[in-house]
């Protein structure tokens, strides 16, 4: 059975916490735990950079959840396959090795899980580190993710 790992990516600042909050809600909801037959683990990571490779080890299916900005309505959920994320232009610096760069590195090393999906949840302003958390319909986001992850893991 393919182990499933759900990784919420974020930081303690404002809306950037959203990835963590969704993981908290998924854990409390327990719907996935009860319906999936595969072993399921949850991780909340604070800007993991290249350490994301380590966090994905031994998982067959990896679900990444992160806040993102594309100009869509706040709270909108977008779903990306791994190869779509890898093609995003993101910087290589010691302080900001992003998901795209890390996934490209994982592919080059042959260490990508057999399936990886990134769910990006739209937020308004990632640049304001001191802003308070905006109102999000976390339950709605969780419902979208649960349905999708169940399909994926079947």
């Amino acid at each position: 059975m393919t182990p499933v790992r759900i990784i919420g990516i974020g930081s303690p600042f404002g809306d950037d916490q959203l990835g963590w909050l969704v993981v908290d809600a998924l854990q409390q909801n327990r719907y996935l735990d009860q319906t999936l037959r595969q072993p399921l683990t949850y991780i909340k990571a604070d800007r993991p950079g290249a350490n994301l490779l380590e966090l994905m080890q031994q998982a067959g299916i990896v679900i990444l959840i992160d806040a993102m900005q594309t100009g869509a309505e706040p709270g909108a959920v977008k779903r990306f396959e791994s190869h779509e994320v890898e093609n995003l232009t993101m910087p290589w610096s010691s302080h900001g090795i992003g998901i795209a760069s890390t996934l490209a590195l994982a592919r080059a090393l042959g260490e990508l899980p057999s399936r990886l999906i990134l769910y990006g949840i739209e937020i308004e302003d990632a640049r304001n580190p001191v802003c308070s958390l905006s109102q999000f319909d976390i339950d709605k986001i969780v419902r979208i993710l649960v349905d999708d992850v169940r399909q994926l893991a079947l």
Binding site: Q69, P91, H95, L105
Partner: protein, 432 residues
């Protein structure tokens, strides 16, 4: 014929990337007319945030300044505050602080060597491209980095912005079982760290000697991390309290980061400066590998910085294993402190170089004034000096792309704490 080219390299502001950098270069008559490394980091204001805060809050606040070298910020801060309080935390705390610093050097240097610097020397545009042809080396680098993170986690509770450090010592002492487990992992990987030194020394590094002044800490017995006097290869030998009487920061119009100068001149801080000045403080096994690789230190080739980083990773492995072998759980992981008014200084060796802190505390131990001088600010004038000399030698009649790539390589070699170290510098070229 007069030729004037204006090359403007800049990094767009991107989420989770700290700072913005650009290189402005004006060339006239095949000579550099103007060269400015622009750093316009968003203001961080940490020195002001600290004012009015209790000494107890300082270690956790300063850890937030940097995600890659939080330990350095914590160490310089606690040493400065303990100097005010007249507190000696004793040998156990001293050893575990050194252990934690080993973790940070391993983690930070491994990241820089494998993901940022090595692609430059092997002719790749990015680390993933390099990883396809050098998977073994990149995997080894990531494993070493991971062990560095584990060391920080062991001492600080977590590897990003650790929370275990306090004035007087640590909040928690690692358990013997955790120590034994990590010691075994480090022992199993120590030959990888040694092989990394050989690998970096085998890279085809440019050979362009330059004249520069190295500045680093120097300790009477050991390779410096947390303690020592400030020395240079031009005769400087001062206590860290005297830092500001020789090293002065000044503002330049083109950068929000200060430029620090030693007696009015640029200088180098960081791994190459440390190895240059402290090569006689290496443990025997590190001295042996330094002799075997055939690179003579002190080196005036700035590109030997990558070798110096690898040497320091190996040294950090040797030191960490030694400290873990001698480890005992203490009666208490910290000593009690008595707050008092005064001025204290802390200067430790962050992965990128000297990190100097000065605090003025009131009777309750609250911060009245804080000054923090990070390594990137100290190296900024040296980077400009290096670019000036290296580009002139490289040839200014080369294409804009060649000049841009070469300049990026020079800047990245210093591992600056700015997004200039990116491989995706956007280029905007104007010709007159």
């Amino acid at each position: 014929m007069t030729e004037s080219r204006h090359i403007n390299i800049h990094v767009p502001v991107l989420a989770r990337v700290e700072g913005e950098g650009a290189l402005e270069l004006n060339i006239r008559d095949r000579r550099i007319d103007e060269l400015r490394l622009r750093i316009y980091e968003p203001p961080r204001l940490f020195e002001k945030f600290l004012v009015g805060r209790s000494y107890r809050e300082v270690p956790d606040m300063v850890a937030r300044i940097c995600g890659i070298c939080p330990v350095a910020y914590q160490m310089s801060a606690v040493h400065a505050i303990e100097q005010v309080f007249g507190c000696d935390p004793g040998p156990w705390v001293r050893a575990i602080r050194r252990l934690m610093y080993c973790g940070e050097w391993i983690e930070s240097h491994s990241l820089h060597i494998h993901l940022l610097a090595a692609p430059d020397f092997l002719g790749y545009a990015s680390a993933p491209e390099m990883a396809r042809d050098f998977p073994r080396e990149v995997r080894r680098g990531l494993q070493l980095q991971s062990l560095g993170n584990e060391l920080i986690r062991l001492c600080g509770g977590r590897s990003v912005h650790p929370v275990g450090v306090c004035v007087g010592g640590f909040h928690h002492a690692p358990a013997m079982q955790e120590v034994a487990r990590l010691r075994e992992k480090l022992q199993a990987a120590v030959m990888d760290a040694r092989a990394l030194v050989e690998w970096t020394a085998s890279l085809d590094l440019p050979d362009t000697p330059q004249r520069f002044t190295s500045v680093a800490l120097r300790h009477e017995r050991e390779y410096p991390m947390n303690e020592g006097r400030l020395v240079s290869d031009t005769g400087l030998d001062i206590a860290i309290d005297e830092f500001a009487s020789h090293i002065t920061e000044h503002q330049v119009p083109h950068s929000t980061a200060f430029h620090a100068l030693l007696d009015g001149q640029p200088y180098l801080a960081g791994p190459l400066a440390r190895v240059n000045l402290n090569r006689d403080r290496m443990p025997q096994s590190v001295s042996e590998i330094m002799r075997d690789i055939g690179i003579v230190f002190p080196s005036s080739n700035m590109f030997h910085s990558i070798v110096a980083r690898a040497i320091e990773i190996y040294l950090a492995f040797i030191e960490a294993i030694r400290i873990l072998e001698d480890y005992e759980v203490p009666a208490s992981p910290r000593v009690s402190v008595s707050p008092c008014r005064g001025v204290g200084y802390g200067c430790t060796e962050a992965p990128r170089g000297l990190l100097w802190h000065r605090y003025e505390l009131n009777d309750a131990g609250d911060v009245d004034k804080a000054t923090i001088i990070p390594p990137t600010s100290q190296n900024q004038a040296r980077i400009e000096q290096d670019l000036h000399e290296s580009l002139q030698v490289y040839g200014l009649d080369r294409s804009d792309d060649e000049i841009r790539l070469f300049s990026e390589k020079i800047i990245r070699n210093y591992d600056p704490c700015i997004s200039c170290s990116t491989h995706f510098l956007k280029v905007d070229i104007h010709r007159e």
